[in-house]
Amino acid sequence: MKALIYSLLILLALISTIACNEENLDLKPLTETEANYFTQELDYERSVVALYSKLADHYTYNNNNWEHEFFLLPGDDITSVNAYAYEVFSTLQPGDGDLNRAYDLYYQLINRTNTFLEKIAMDEEREKSVYASINTRDNHKGEALFLRGLTNFMLWNYFGTSPVINERINSQDAINPPSSDGIQLLDQAIADFTDAAALLPSSWPDVYRGRATSNSANGFLGKAQVFKASWTGDNGLYSQAISSFDKISGKSLVANYRDNFSINSENNDESLFEVQNSNPTATDNVWLSNDDFTVIGTMSAFYGFFNNHWSFWDGTPWVATEKLINAIDPDDPRLPEIVNTADKHIQKYILEDQLTNTGVGSLNNFRMLRYADVLLLKAEALNETGNQNEAIALINQVRARARNMGSTGEPADLATGASQDQVRQWIRDERLVELAGEGQRWLDLRRWHKAGHINLSNFDFSSDTQSFNIQMPKHLLYPIPTGEVDLNKNVKQNEGY
C-alpha cells in the first residue's frame, strides 16, 4: 500500500514534467509570413527591389544555363556555326530548356508584379497608408506596372498567345488560365505602359538611378505602339506612338557610341532603361540563383559568348554575320565598336567591361532601351505616316552621332526626299547597324514580315550553320513551352509545333 501511494506521488510528478501541452506544437516559421508583412513602407520598397531582380535573372550566367540565345541568335545580326535551335529554327522544341526558363521567369515576374499590385491596392484601401508619401506609393505602383508591361511585351513578341494574367493567382481553381488571342498581350503591355507612365517620376535621385521612369514607360509605350501598328497595319497607332515618344524628356544621344555598352557610363543620358547588373554584397556566385541565396546569389550579366570567355564552354562563339559586317561602312566609326573584323567577335559590352569577383559575370548593365532606338522607331512611325523627311532627319541624328566619333565623315547623312519604301530600307539598315547584337533584331524582323515589308521565307539570315531552316508563319512565334502546354489544358500550342 505504501508502494502504491509513493507510486502515485511519483507518477504525479512525472506527469507534471512530461505532460503534453498542445501549445508545444505551435511553432513559428523562421521567416516573416505574408500575414504580418506589408505593414511599413520599407516592406513595399523591398518588394520593388525583388521585382527588378526577377527581370535581371534573364541576363545572368545562371549556372551555365544562360538563356541569351533565346533573344540574341534568331536575327540576322549574330550567328554561330553551332546548330542552336534559335539559330536553326526548325529544331526548336517546346521542351527546350532556355525556352522554358525564359517563360518561367517572365511569368514569375508577372506573378510578383500582380502580387505587389494586390498589396498596393490593399494599402489604397487602408484608412491610413503605410506610405509617408502617396507619391512614393504611386511611383512603386508605376514601377510594378512598367515591369508587367515590359514582360507582357516580351511574352507577346516571343510566344504571342500565352495567357494574359492581371491578378495574383492564389486559388487552385484559377491555375489554368486560357491562351490569349492575337495581340491581347501587346494590348495589355500598352495599357500597363500607359498607366505606368502616368505614375512614374521623370527621374530618380542619383542613388536610385536605374529605376523605371516615365521616360522608360513612354519609350516602351511608343515602341509597343509601333510594333502593334506594323503587326496590325493600323496606321493610326503610329501617331499615338509619336505622341508617346514626344513625352520623353531630357534624353539625348551620348557623344560616344561606346558609352552605351561601357561599365563606365551606365544609366547615361541615352539610356531609357537598363538591367542593373552588379556584384552581390559578398560574392557573385554565378552558379547560385538570386532568389535562393542572399549576398551570393548572382546579380551579374553574362557576355562570355561574345569573346569566347573560358566560362563559355561551348567554344563556338556567337559572331557577327557576314551580312552585318558588310552592312557597316568600313569607315563608320561604329565598326570597331560593334565587331572585330578579324575574328568577327561582337565587341559590345566587351570593350569596357569589368567582371565580378568570381571572374565570370559582368557588372556591365544590359541595355534594354536607349534613345537611339527610340529615334529610329519614331522615324519609322513618321515614315509610315508620310513624313519621310522628318523620318530621315531622325535617322541622320543617329548617323551624325556615329560620324562625330571619327574623322572620316562616315556614315554620311541620308538625302531627303526619298520614297517611303526607301526610307523603310534605310531604317532597316540603320537599325541593323546601330542596334546590332542588342537582342532587337528578331523582334523587328518578325513584325516587318507581318507588315509585308520583308519576307522571312526567303530572307537572308546570313547564318553560319548549315542546318538553318526557317518556316513561315510557324516560326514567327516560339512554341509554348512544355511547362505550360503539358500542365494547362486551357492553353493551346502555337500553330505548327
Partner: protein, 1121 residues
C-alpha cells in the same frame, strides 16, 4: 514466362538445397523405453514433449507430468523436442529408462523480440517483424549499422552507397511508398532518432549541404548492438504513428547481465581494394575518335589540339596534343590496400539488483580512393538498478566522436573524363614552361593565367580599394574538356573539407511497479549531436580548376585562401510516460500498454568564415579578427510532435491472439486544424500447432497464422507549407553610373509560396498475412508473408502551369502508391557427428505501382534526393507504372547507308534530330505514340510518323522487383565457416557513365575503349537489339541525330548477386584455454566482404560507378575474459 521464372528462381534454389537434407530411414528390432522429461533450468516437468524415433514418423508425447513410454527398435535414437526447447537426440542403446533434461531454446520461440514499447517472445508475435542478432551484426565491417542488415532480413532493402567511408546507405522497408521521404524511422533504445536534413527539408540543396555527407547512424558502434528489429507492417509499427509509414527500425544495444564481470575484446584489421577500373582510350585512339567526330559534322572545324597542323608557339596554347603521352588518371586515384581497423572492448556484469555495461571502441576506415577517411571513437555505458522491489531506474549514455575527411569530391568521375593527355604531375606538364608557380605542389595545372594590374585598384593609381589588385584571364590548357584537377584538390594544402561530429545519446528512466504486473515508466531521452565542418579553399586551387575565378578577388587581394567553419547542432528531446499492465487469468493473458509522448527536435547552424587568411601552415587555419573579410550567419529549424498510444494485447492459452493499437499524433508541420491524426491497427494470430488436433502432426513444432491491418502516417513535408512566407534573398542594385558600375545593392523580398492550408500527412494502409512455422525438430524454420501497403494522400510537390508564376511549387496531399509482395524466410540447421551445418535465406518480392497523381499528370521525381538510389536522375512518376521508372526513347536501329536514311525520313520525322546532318551510322528511334488529343491528355497511342518527346515509353523500373540474401555455413570442432550472398534482381538503371563514356559527341571527354567498335563506313555495326552495348553509332560531334538521347540504349539490367561475406573462424578449444581460467573464449577469423559480384551491369559496379564498392579482406580476433 521468362520473367516469372526469373522472379522465382531463388525459391527453386532453396528447394534444391533443402532436398539435400532429407535422408533415409533405419529399421531394426523393438524394445520398450520410458522416462521423464524435465526442464534443465528449473527441473519442472514438461508436458507435451514430442518424442520421435529418429528418422521415422513414429513417436509419442509426454503426459502432464512429463512422463512417456514408447516401444523402439534396437539401435534406434530418440529425438525429444518441444516448443521453446532445444531438441535433443539420444541413442537408446541398452537403456530402458531415459530421463531427459531439455535446455530452453533461446534462439527459437522463446527468443525475446523487441517490438517497441516492450518485448515479446517470438512465438507470441502477431505483426510482421524481422530481427537480427549481434552475432550476425558483428560480421559487418562497416561503421554503419544499416549495412549489417543488408541481405539479412526479408522485406528490408539496404543499398551499398559507395566505397567512401561514412556514406549513407539507402534503407527501404517493403518497397518505396512515397516520392517524398521514404526512409524508415530509427529508434535506438527507445529513442526515436531525428537528423536535420534527413526529412523533407532535404529537397533543398542547401539543406543537403548543411546535413553533410556523413552518416550519423555510424555514430552507433555496431559492436554495441544487441539486436535490430524491423517493424514492417502497420500492426507492428502503429505504435510510432505519424512517423512509421516507411517502417521502423528498432536498434537495441547491449546491456549488462547478471553474473561475474566479463570483458569482451575484439580487434580486426582489413584492407580494401577496388576490383575494377574503366578501360579508356589512349591518346592516339582518342585523337582518331574526335578527329572523326569533328569531320562528321560540317558545322564544326577540327579543334587545334586534335589537328596536326596546329603549330602555335607554346605560350599561345591551342597546339596539337596528339603526340603527347597517355596519362593514366585512374591508378593514381586508388588508395591501394586501404585500411579498415576496428577495436573495441566491453565490460559488463551485475548482481540481482544492478546491472552495468561499459564499452569503448575505435574504428578507422580509409577510402579505397584518395582523399577520404573516417575515424570513430565511441563510448557507451548503461546501468540499471532496482532501488526497491517496486522501483527500478536506469541510465544509458552513448558518446561518439567522428573525424571524417571528405576531400575526394567527384571520385572517378574526373579521372574517367579527363583527356588522356592531361597531365597529373608537373613532370608531365607540356606547358610547364608557362607557369612556374605550380612547382609548389608538384601537380600540373589546368589553366595558364594572364595577370594584369588593375587600374581601379589603389596600388595602380585607382580609387577602388575593394577591387582586386590584379585582373586575371585564363586559358584552359588541354582543350575545352580539360578536367578540373581533382587529384590536386584532394591535397589538404590546397583544399580540405573535414567533419568532426560528436554525438551524445542519453536516456534515463524510472519505473514503478506498485502492483505486480502494473508498470509505470517515465522516460526522458536526449540526443544531441554537434557537427562541425571545417573548410579550406586555397586561392591556389584556381590553378587546378576549370572555373578558376580571380584569386586576387579573395580578401584584400593577397589572401592565401578561404576558411570556413560551420557548426551544426541537432537536438532531440523526447519525454514519455508509459503504463504497462500484464495479467493472466487462467488461460487468458492480457497486456495493455498506454503511452504519452512529447518530442521536440531541431537544429541550429552557425557559420563563420573569412576570405582573408595570410598563412600557409595548416596549423594556423583559424578565423582571425580581421572583421572586414569575415562573414557569419546562422539559421535554425524546429519541429514538435506529440502522441498518445494505446495497445491492448490478448491471448488465450498462447493459441489465439488479438492485438489492437491506436495512436493519435499531432505534428507542428501542419495547420492547427489539420494537425492531429489517428492511426489504428489490429492484428490476429492463431497458433494452430497448439491445437490438440495438431498433436499428431509431429513434424510440426510450431505453426502460426497471423494477419494484420492498420494505418500509418508520414509527416515528412515542408513545414509551414500552409503559410505564405516572405523570401528575403533577392538583391538588386540601384545607382550605378558616372564610372561606378556597382551601384548600391539593396535587399529585396517577395512571396514565393502558394500555400495549401489543408495539408496533412500521408497515410499508409497496410494489410499483412503471414505463416510462421518450425518443423522437423526445430531443423527448419520458415516464414511466408504477403503484404499490401497502399499509401494515400502522398504529399506531392505539384507543378502548376508555368503561367501561374508561383516560385515555390505547392505541396498537396494527392497521390497514392501501392506496394505489395511476398516475403520468404527459411532456415535449416542440421548436424552430422561433430559437424553442424546451416542454411538460412530470405527473399522479398515487390510490386510497386502508382495509383494516383495530381491531375493524372506524369512528372519527374526530383525529390528522390539524398539517400535515394535515384539521386540526380530524372525518374518518372506516372499512374499505372512503378515509381521512379525510366522513361525514354526506344532505339530501333542504325542507318547503314544514306538510302536507309532517306527511306526512313521519307516516312518519319524525328524532331529530336537535326535532319540536315543525320547520316549513315546514326540511330533511328521508334515512333510509338502520337500527340495528345481530346481523348488523350499526354500522348495518344496512335503513332503519328513523328518521333518526338511523345514517343518516350517505359524502359525499366528502378525499384528492385525482388531482393534476397542467403547464408550457408558449418561449424566443426571449433572451426566455423559462413558464406553469405546478397542480391537484387528485376531492376533497371540508366547507365549514365556508359552514356557519357560512349557518347562520342562531346568536344573531347575521354571515352571507353568500347567505342573502338563504333560504326564507320568500314565497320558497319549492325543493330543487335540483344546486344545494345556493341551496337554503337558513328562518332559525330554535337550528336545531331540525337544518338545519345535518353533511350533504352542505356537502360540496363542492374541486378546482381554478391558474395557479400565469407568468414572462416576458429575458436580455441577449452583444452588450450583451460590452463588460464580467466580466458573464457578466443575466436580468430578471416573474412572477405564483397568478394565477388555476379552481374550483367556494364559499368564499374552495379551499386556505384563512381566510388565503386571495394573488396575487403579482414582478419580479427574476439576474446572474452
Amino acid at each position: 514466362m521468362r520473367n516469372f521464372y526469373e522472379r522465382f528462381r531463388f525459391p527453386k534454389l532453396i528447394l534444391i538445397v533443402l532436398s539435400l537434407f532429407f535422408f533415409g530411414h533405419l529399421r531394426a528390432q523393438d524394445r520398450s523405453v520410458s522416462g521423464k522429461v524435465t526442464s534443465a533450468e528449473d527441473g519442472t516437468a514438461i508436458p507435451g514433449v514430442s518424442i520421435i524415433i529418429t528418422g521415422s514418423t513414429t513417436g509419442t508425447i509426454t503426459d502432464l507430468d512429463g512422463n512417456y513410454k514408447l516401444t523402439v527398435p534396437s539401435g534406434a535414437s530418440l529425438t525429444f523436442s518441444s516448443v521453446g526447447y532445444r531438441s535433443q537426440t539420444i541413442e537408446v542403446g541398452t537403456q530402458s529408462i531415459i530421463d531427459v533434461l531439455l535446455q530452453s531454446d533461446v534462439t527459437q520461440l522463446s527468443e525475446v523480440v523487441v517490438i517497441g514499447y516492450g518485448t515479446r517472445e517470438k512465438k507470441d508475435l502477431t505483426g510482421a517483424i524481422s530481427v537480427m542478432e549481434s552475432d550476425e551484426i558483428e560480421k559487418s565491417i562497416s561503421q554503419a549499422p544499416e549495412l549489417a542488415m543488408q541481405g539479412r532480413m526479408a522485406g528490408v532493402f539496404v543499398s551499398t552507397p559507395s566505397g567512401r567511408p561514412g556514406d549513407r546507405p539507402t534503407v527501404r522497408v517493403r518497397g518505396v511508398s512515397t516520392f517524398g521521404i521514404a526512409d524508415p524511422l530509427y529508434v535506438i533504445d527507445g529513442v526515436p532518432i531525428t537528423e536535420y536534413g534527413s526529412g523533407y527539408e532535404q529537397i533543398d540543396a542547401r539543406t543537403r549541404d548543411l546535413r553533410g555527407p556523413v552518416n550519423v547512424l555510424s555514430m552507433i558502434n555496431p559492436d554495441d548492438i544487441e539486436s535490430i528489429s524491423v517493424l514492417k507492417d502497420a500492426s507492428a509499427a502503429a505504435i510510432y504513428g505519424v512517423r512509421a509509414s516507411n517502417g521502423v527500425i528498432l536498434i537495441t544495444t547491449k546491456k549488462g547481465k547478471q553474473g561475474r564481470p566479463k570483458v569482451d575484446i575484439s580487434y580486426s584489421y582489413g584492407v580494401q581494394n577496388i576490383p575494377n577500373m574503366y578501360n579508356l582510350l589512349d591518346v592516339p585512339n582518342y585523337v582518331n575518335l574526335y578527329t572523326e567526330a569533328n569531320n562528321n559534322n560540317p558545322n564544326f572545324a577540327l579543334p587545334p589540339w586534335f589537328n596536326p597542323d596546329s603549330t602555335n608557339a607554346i605560350n599561345q596554347h591551342e597546339r596539337y596534343m596528339g603526340n603527347n603521352p597517355t596519362i593514366d588518371w585512374q591508378q593514381p586515384f586508388l588508395n591501394k590496400n586501404a585500411a579498415v581497423v576496428d577495436a573495441s572492448a566491453r565490460v559488463y556484469g551485475g548482481n540481482e539488483n544492478t546491472n552495468y555495461y561499459v564499452s569503448t571502441g575505435y574504428s578507422y576506415t580509409d577510402s579505397p580512393l584518395r582523399g577520404d577517411w573516417q575515424e570513430r571513437y565511441s563510448l557507451a555505458t548503461n546501468i540499471t538498478s532496482k532501488i526497491a522491489d517496486w522501483v527500478e531506474a536506469g541510465v544509458t549514455y552513448r558518446l561518439a566522436y567522428v573525424d571524417n575527411l571528405g576531400n575526394s569530391g567527384y571520385s572517378f568521375t574526373n579521372a574517367v573524363s579527363a583527356p588522356p593527355w592531361q597531365p597529373i604531375f608537373i613532370e608531365d606538364d607540356f606547358y610547364r614552361i608557362n607557369s612556374p608557380v605550380e612547382e609548389k605542389y608538384g601537380y600540373a595545372t589546368t589553366v595558364d593565367t594572364l595577370t594584369t594590374p588593375n587600374p581601379d585598384h589603389p596600388l595602380f593609381g585607382g580609387t577602388n580599394a575593394d577591387a582586386p589588385p590584379y585582373l586575371v584571364d585564363y586559358i584552359i590548357k588541354y582543350g575545352t574538356e580539360t578536367e578540373t584537377h581533382q587529384y590536386a584538390l584532394t591535397d589538404r594544402r590546397i583544399n580540405e573539407t573535414k567533419y568532426n561530429i560528436i554525438r551524445n545519446i542519453g536516456n534515463a528512466y524510472l519505473q514503478l511497479e506498485p502492483i505486480k504486473g502494473l508498470k509505470i515508466k517515465g522516460n526522458i531521452s536526449l540526443d544531441w549531436y554537434y557537427n562541425i565542418r571545417k573548410t579550406w579553399r586555397s586561392v591556389d586551387g584556381a590553378m587546378f580548376s576549370i572555373t578558376p575565378g580571380n584569386p586576387y578577388a579573395t580578401g584584400d587581394g593577397f589572401s592565401t585562401g578561404n576558411l570556413g567553419e560551420r557548426h551544426n547542432r541537432n537536438f532531440n528531446i523526447v519525454k514519455e510516460l508509459t503504463v504497462d499492465w500484464l495479467k493472466s487469468f487462467g488461460e487468458h493473458n492480457i497486456n495493455v500498454t498506454l503511452n504519452a509522448m512529447d518530442q521536440k527536435y531541431g537544429f541550429e547552424v552557425f557559420f563563420g568564415g573569412t576570405e582573408q587568411h595570410i598563412f600557409e601552415d595548416p596549423a594556423f587555419r583559424l578565423i582571425s579578427e580581421n572583421q572586414e573579410y569575415t562573414s557569419a550567419s546562422s539559421t535554425r529549424d524546429e519541429f514538435a510532435l506529440q502522441g498518445y498510444m494505446a495497445r491492448a494485447s490478448y491471448n488465450y492459452a498462447s493459441r489465439y491472439y488479438l492485438d489492437v493499437t491506436v495512436r493519435r499524433d499531432g505534428s507542428s508541420r501542419f495547420a492547427p486544424d489539420y494537425r492531429w491524426g489517428t492511426f489504428p491497427s489490429v492484428a490476429l494470430a492463431w497458433r494452430i500447432s497448439s491445437e490438440n488436433f495438431m498433436s499428431n502432426l509431429t513434424f510440426i513444432d510450431d505453426l502460426k497464422i497471423r494477419a494484420g491491418w492498420g494505418q500509418l502516417g508520414n509527416q515528412e513535408t515542408k513545414p509551414f507549407a500552409f503559410l505564405s512566407t516572405v523570401n528575403q534573398n533577392p538583391q538588386y542594385a540601384y545607382g550605378s553610373g558616372n564610372g561606378n558600375a556597382f551601384g548600391t545593392v539593396y535587399q529585396g523580398t517577395f512571396l514565393p509560396d502558394f500555400p495549401t492550408e489543408d495539408l496533412s500527412w500521408e497515410t499508409s494502409t497496410t494489410k499483412n498475412i503471414g505463416f510462421d512455422g518450425i518443423f522437423f525438430n526445430n531443423r527448419i524454420t520458415a516464414t511466408i508473408e504477403y503484404y499490401d501497403r497502399l499509401t494515400e494522400g502522398i504529399l506531392q510537390q505539384v507543378s502548376f502551369p508555368s503561367s501561374v508564376g508561383n516560385y515555390n511549387n505547392p505541396i498537396i496531399n494527392v497521390a497514392s502508391v501501392i506496394n505489395r509482395g511476398f516475403e520468404f524466410q527459411l532456415g535449416y540447421n542440421g548436424r552430422v557427428g561433430d559437424l553442424e551445418y546451416f542454411f538460412s535465406g530470405n527473399m522479398t518480392t515487390i510490386h510497386n505501382e502508382v495509383k494516383e497523381v495530381w491531375n493524372d499528370q506524369p512528372f519527374y521525381g526530383l525529390v528522390g534526393g539524398g539517400g535515394s538510389i535515384n539521386v540526380g536522375e530524372n525518374l518518372r512518376i506516372a499512374e499505372g507504372l512503378p515509381l521512379f521508372h525510366l522513361w525514354g526513347f526506344q532505339a530501333a536501329g542504325i542507318f547503314q547507308s544514306q538510302e536507309e536514311v532517306d527511306d526512313w525520313w521519307s516516312v518519319y520525322t524525328d524532331n529530336q534530330a537535326d535532319a540536315a546532318l543525320v547520316s549513315a551510322g546514326d540511330f533511328y528511334f521508334k515512333d510509338v505514340h502520337g500527340p495528345p488529343n481530346d481523348e488523350y491528355d499526354f500522348y495518344s497511342p496512335i503513332p503519328d510518323s513523328v518521333v518526338d518527346l511523345n514517343d518516350r515509353t517505359f524502359i525499366g523500373s528502378t525499384i528492385p522487383g525482388h531482393y534476397y540474401g542467403f547464408t550457408v555455413g558449418a561449424n566443426w570442432k571449433g572451426i566455423d565457416l559462413s558464406i553469405f550472398f546478397q542480391g537484387i534482381g528485376d531492376v533497371y538503371k540508366y547507365n549514365t557513365e556508359r552514356a557519357k563514356g560512349t557518347g562520342m559527341g562531346s568536344q573531347g571527354i575521354n571515352q571507353w575503349q568500347a567505342v573502338l567498335n563504333r560504326w564507320t563506313p568500314s565497320n558497319k555495326n549492325s543493330w543487335d537489339p540483344d546486344d545494345k552495348l556493341n551496337s554503337l553509332p558513328r562518332a559525330v560531334r554535337g550528336d545531331p541525330a540525337g544518338n545519345g538521347r535518353y533511350s533504352d540504349r542505356f537502360a540496363e539490367k542492374a541486378g546482381f548477386m554478391r558474395l557479400k561475406n565469407i568468414t572462416l573462424g576458429y575458436t580455441l578449444p577449452q583444452s588450450l584455454l583451460g590452463k588460464t581460467s580467466y580466458i573464457e573464449r578466443v575466436r580468430l577469423y578471416i573474412s572477405g566482404t564483397n568478394v565477388f559480384t555476379f552481374t550483367n551491369w556494364t559499368g564499374n559496379d552495379p551499386e556505384n560507378d563512381n566510388v565503386p564498392i571495394p573488396v575487403t579482406w579482414t582478419a580479427g580476433v574476439n576474446a572474452t575474459f
